[in-house]
Symmetry: C2
Subunit: 479 residues, 2 copies
């Protein structure tokens, strides 16, 4: 067999994934060879030094080894009784965190080591429903409350997106509309599941806003070519653009989806990463509209928590339709699909619970939590501003949209004849050690060039590398 | 949309998954209504009271909140200096576990919160390679050492099986040979990926042994019908049979796969669950045979650890072929596929590391680890024996094979005319609260009836329920 060739699934063979593509692979090689590399190719905050949020980690640490809860109380009371001067209250885990951990442990039933329900722990799904209700003002009066039975815990949001696309793509001619540029999870998954990618183009010069004409044009062209468009993907805040969608754009998408009976996949993993702009969820934008099937995705990997390695997230479904040719609805089908994977990992589930249940007024962890949160989000905004300031010194570089997510996606208006953004990013990497991803890895309007940078390195690293980038840029584009 | 019907992927619509099918669903309903249920439908040890292994959990707990490592040392030295009588050394985490956690933390680079390489942490893959080498006697002299670059960390073994099947099934006529009975992950995945299920029949009366004639017959029938058989799945120890495959059977499969140029998927997740029999890996059976492509799967969910909820495992590939029509080999393709999911969850990765790196002689955790391990495995064997003893009191019940895995799969030779094993299991559930899975959920030779029971409840629960089952059985079969 090893001497022979094997015939494989062509859909996966043809799939591309630039975020871990040739430039990051070259960066890894350079690093092995001893070069200092700053990995800005991926939104992986803790890899670049962002500290985890203590609140999440204290609780998970106790849940993994619950005997430590009672021991902590015993140690603490021993110290208090004997009034050690060397130790202070802060050296012990706060009682409310111990009590919270006990409460969560009881809700899990058997801790973190057992398979959960296929959809995930019910108490986590209930907490997610409460979070959505609070975020979007849903209640029994307006009848828009989230349904815990329509929520699935997933191993990161990528898992949720793939599950939905795998179910919706029923035949080769089924189409999925995705924005260009897009996060390559979508193009890769559409290819893997054998569907048709239908591109639509947000208007870069209008801060990546969506207008109806652009959506209709993409839809019509695809339909004329025999594609049966079934769903539109929207990423807000954007990836790779980092731009925050305005209210008008979001409502355009809803009206468009309704007119053509399309489902919407709303990738809202960066909903906490809005610096100055406002996040509006698609669930909120739908309001009483019962005609549009909505899948919304969230994740523990982004926001101010950045718990990428723990692989947690959720998928909420609204306006669940019946399945054609079967005695079940779409949630039943999602459940059947989920059951084959047994369940999402329990630590990711619990961090999702904590993400939607931040410390409240009764909790001593409150102040530390808010300090850590403000620090991370403040730093991110400051770092984005530093990168923007560097762009202002680079010839022919423009960047559009209100800053959101963890990315900037500048347009490179001036490149030497015959060179591409791939060449530019590779040269930038070789010269400065800065690893970005070329715009063509995400797709871009023909004739334009971009790159995506995750603004995650430390300020010190940025202060060091940005002047080098400016110098590189102004030399390269005139070279 | 909610009033309409949606057209979906028929492959997933047609998929079945009995382990979480109608009988377990009925059991969940009964439990909600207040009935005592013993869930023996699934290998989920910690849900049935099995305690986690302390060694794994102490380390994970420290890695989630690393500040606790230095604090533990400080507390310990304070106590020692002040000679508290209330506390003993055992109340503190042993220094070697603290040191081990520090060592692992350093190897991760940035802890558990960052995405890892797509294949998983390299140091974990190296430890897995060492584990395989040690288990199977591979070394530089015989040239059979495992290659860490050919190992992928996965979210449980199911994830690994699905990845491989998704790549191997390239067209509708591609066939996958699976044993009957089988674990429904395989039938469900083959259906989901649009391939052909080709059944082969281990010989129940010969303790589920495999013989060449049965394999050839299944292969020939499929080939004559236009199926292009590409791979054979073997589950050892068996699921649902619980039987341990003998050496002759394993070597038959290798010779058969070689003769027909098939790949082998060896599902070896129960390799630690052998009670009296011997586990022989397919990697070992292959030896110097470079002609057979082998995928072997392992998991943290089974064995004596039972860390199902943490979703960890690995996939090892041997004798990697080139991919037809591309400048890459099969491992490159697996890597491309893995990169779209970013990485397996880090906690599952670290527990996999600990699974393949048990405490050694220098480690104070050694004794506790071995005690816990022996207790779990000893209990499992005892509980299997209790269930077998009950079978001996049931009319027309036979069970074959050396006890392995976590299951017994008795044949019900006597059922009332017109009833099936599904009816039997449902009636057993309603009467005794014991939730098993009907043999037809796994597939079985025509005209036979079985059920699968996971022998995981406590001895007390078994002592209570087994006599009820015997009474139920002897009444039911004569009813």
């Amino acid at each position: 067999m090893s001497k022979q060739k094997i015939n494989v699934n062509q859909n996966i063979l043809n799939m591309e994934y630039a975020v871990r593509g040739p430039i990051p692979q070259r960066a890894a090689k350079l690093k092995e060879a001893g070069k200092e590399i700053i990995f800005c190719n991926i939104g992986n905050p803790q890899a670049l030094g962002q500290a985890p949020i203590t609140y999440y980690r204290e609780v998970i640490s106790l849940l993994e080894e619950p005997s430590k809860i009672s021991r902590e109380r015993e140690l603490k009371s021993l110290f208090e009784e004997n009034s050690y001067s060397n130790l202070r209250d802060e050296d012990f885990i706060a009682e409310d965190l111990l009590a919270l951990s006990e409460k969560i442990l009881a809700k899990t039933g058997k801790g973190l080591g057992a398979y959960t329900e296929s959809k995930g722990f019910r108490f986590v799904r209930e907490a997610i429903a409460n979070f959505i209700n609070k975020r979007d003002g849903f209640n029994t009066t307006n009848g828009l409350e989230a349904n815990p039975d329509h929520i699935f815990l997933t191993d990161g949001a990528s898992d949720g997106a793939k599950r939905v696309l795998n179910l919706l793509i029923a035949k080769k001619t089924d189409g999925v509309m995705i924005p260009i540029p897009q996060y390559p999870l979508y193009s890769a998954s559409i290819k893997a599941f054998g569907g048709n990618q239908v591109n639509y183009y947000p208007d870069e010069d209008r801060d990546w806003a969506l207008d109806r004409a652009a959506l209709e044009s993409a839809y019509n062209t695809a339909t004329e070519q025999g594609t049966d468009v079934k769903v539109i993907v929207v990423i807000n805040p954007g990836n790779p653009t980092g731009a925050i969608l305005d209210s008008a754009s979001i409502h355009e998408v809803v009206a468009f989806a309704k007119a053509h009976q399309l489902a919407i996949i709303a990738d809202e993993v960066y909903q906490e990463n809005v610096y100055g702009g406002e996040f509006i969820s698609f669930a909120k934008a739908l309001e009483n509209d019962k005609d549009v099937l909505l899948f919304s995705l969230h994740s523990i990997s982004k926001g101010f928590y950045g718990e990428c390695g723990h692989r947690g997230g959720y998928l909420e479904v609204r306006n669940v339709p019946q399945v054609e040719g079967a005695e079940m609805d779409f949630v039943d089908l999602l459940l059947k699909q989920a059951s084959v994977s047994l369940c999402a990992n329990t630590v990711g589930q619990i961090i999702t619970y904590l993400m939607v249940s931040p410390p409240n007024g009764e909790n001593a962890a409150l102040e530390q939590f808010h300090n850590e949160k403000e620090k991370v989000l403040g730093d991110l905004y400051e770092k984005a501003s530093m990168v923007r300031a560097a762009f202002a010194q680079m010839e022919g570089v423009e960047v559009f949209g209100k800053t959101g997510a963890m990315y900037l996606f500048p347009r490179l208006n001036k490149l030497p004849a015959g060179t591409t953004d791939f060449d530019y990013c590779m040269a930038l990497l070789e010269e400065t050690g800065l690893c970005t991803v070329n715009g063509s890895g995400f797709g871009q309007a023909e004739g334009t060039h971009h790159l995506r940078i995750a603004f995650l390195p430390s300020k010190e690293e940025l202060e060091d590398v940005l002047p080098k980038w400016v110098a590189f840029h102004n030399r390269y584009v005139n070279g």
